[in-house]
Amino acid sequence: MVELHDVSFTAGATPILHHVDAQFAPGRFNVILGPNGAGKSTLLKVATGTLKPSTGTVRYDNADAASWPPDVLARRRAVLSQHMELPFPLAVEDVVLMGRYPHYARTPARRDRDIVNQALELVGMADRRQQIYSTLSGGERQKTHLARVLAQIWAGDDASGPRYLFLDEPTASLDIHYQIHLLDVARGLLADGCTVVAVLHDLNIALRYGDTFVVLSGGTVACATDRRDAVSRELLEGVFRVRAHQIVDPIAGRTLWEFSL
């Protein structure tokens, strides 16, 4: 459980978050939604412990996140951002090994190497482990980083206990295959109690994968719910400044949204 209580954040003189309360439950896929500039990325940075809130508290299972040493936090909490450029050539497995950095001092143990291999296996990149990162496609790069963050908080590891995975618009610029693959892998972590928190842009994907929803608008929480149907037409139209109407997928019977200006 990650709990944000009365969190405000001000950058210089610009207020970005005002009195935000949010709970991200273990074993659930927690989604943060909101238009550009609503403060989603800032909220995620505060929740991951990267930014200190100006006021309010962030608690990880009743411990004040700010009190954890960075390496202790890093063994339980991993963050996947949008895809990244590396300034120098590195093999895929070397990038994934970075996920194990909080777990060893100088040289990786046999176990760290094993976890790297298993993580590569899990994301379907095992045959690419020797390939140079910069030669990968955007989708493969993001798979590499997914393997890296999975390796960082690998289940049954020395830090047994709660684990937290944060995804900051992880599917931006990925094609639909890679989007679904990434989110399926992330959902796979829920079974053993990992808390997954994702900032997502595609509302239909968000509603399909999410269990709980925090909708941000102008730095405040417009809606926090664990019911899909609470994300209503009025809410979406007001927050995203669009016209929305519902359609029903004739095969799976799921509700989909169609938007126009």
Binding site: K45, T48, T50, P70, D71, V72, L73, A74, R75, R77, A78, V79, S81, M84, L86, P87, F88, P89, L90, A91, D94, M98, G99, Y101, P102, R106, I132, S134, T135, Q152
Partner: protein
Amino acid sequence: MLKRLSNRSFHALLAVGLALAMVASASIGDFVFPLREMARFIGQAFHLIPLTTADTLDRNVFLQLRLPRVLLGTVTGAVLGVSGTLMQGLFRNPIVEPGLVGTSAGAALGAALVFVLGGKATLAFTAPLGSAAVPVFAFAGGFAATVLVYRVSRSFGKVNVFTLLLAGIAVNAVSSAGTGFLSYIARDPQARNITFWNLGTFTTADWRGAVIVTVTFAICYLLSVRYGKALNALMLGEDEATYTGLDPARFIWPLLVVNTLMVAMATAMVGVIAFIGLVVPHVLRLLKSSDYTFLIPGSALLGAMLMEIIDVVARLVIAPAELPIGIITAVVGAPVFLGILIRQQRRGGGAFYG
């Protein structure tokens, strides 16, 4: 083929190369010492073998001139190699080396200040520093230049390449203008000092200088080699490094200080030597990997090895006189570097590394 070697085997290979280069450098020069003779001199130095009067001159040349020079050259090469690696890692940029960022020029200006104004009233406060004044001023100059360029080129957790280049050019220009002014107002021996020093030279090597640089390097190396993982994580960006538990705020400044300290100390002893810091990490990146846990020890070994080879060349080209080291590193280093770049461009379709 080399890529398949483990880090340890690769380092061992480099160490063998370095050992050979050091032996060659100890043996070749104005005086040539065969292996057997070198062994005897070293034995005599440790009083394992009785002294003979017939070869006193040779022995003194070998023990008092040649050996400290080999040590100073080796360690200076290691300093420049490691420094290039650390700076490329810190700036997350392949073009950075102590020369480009202004570390060397700033250190040179600091040292020139002491050379020229050391005896004057303006710098009378340096008197208590004695012979340490040169390294201290070199460190201050190098550190100021590095920090200035780093601060200017870094914004929002990223280093901007163009700002970095421009800031480097500006800082270098100001520093060399300062050094130029000092050599203009200097009396002859001081001015010659500065000229020599700007091109780098090992001719003034003695045991005292060699030991100071060696001890500084040993300490700085042991401090920096622990940051291999941190520099790797920094490749992902400052936020990402924090997510893996390695907070850049905690390691960037210590590394900048350690790096400048060893460069300033070496620069204070031997002057400015270009290109080693740039070429060494790139050769290793191309031969094997950009993993900093490999690069830091590797660049110490390869930098030292290259420096010994270049020093031998410097002694042979216009023997019995010898060339300043900086001329050879630039003349050899620049084309080699351009060659590497062109090969990579062709192979990699335009990217810096294919």
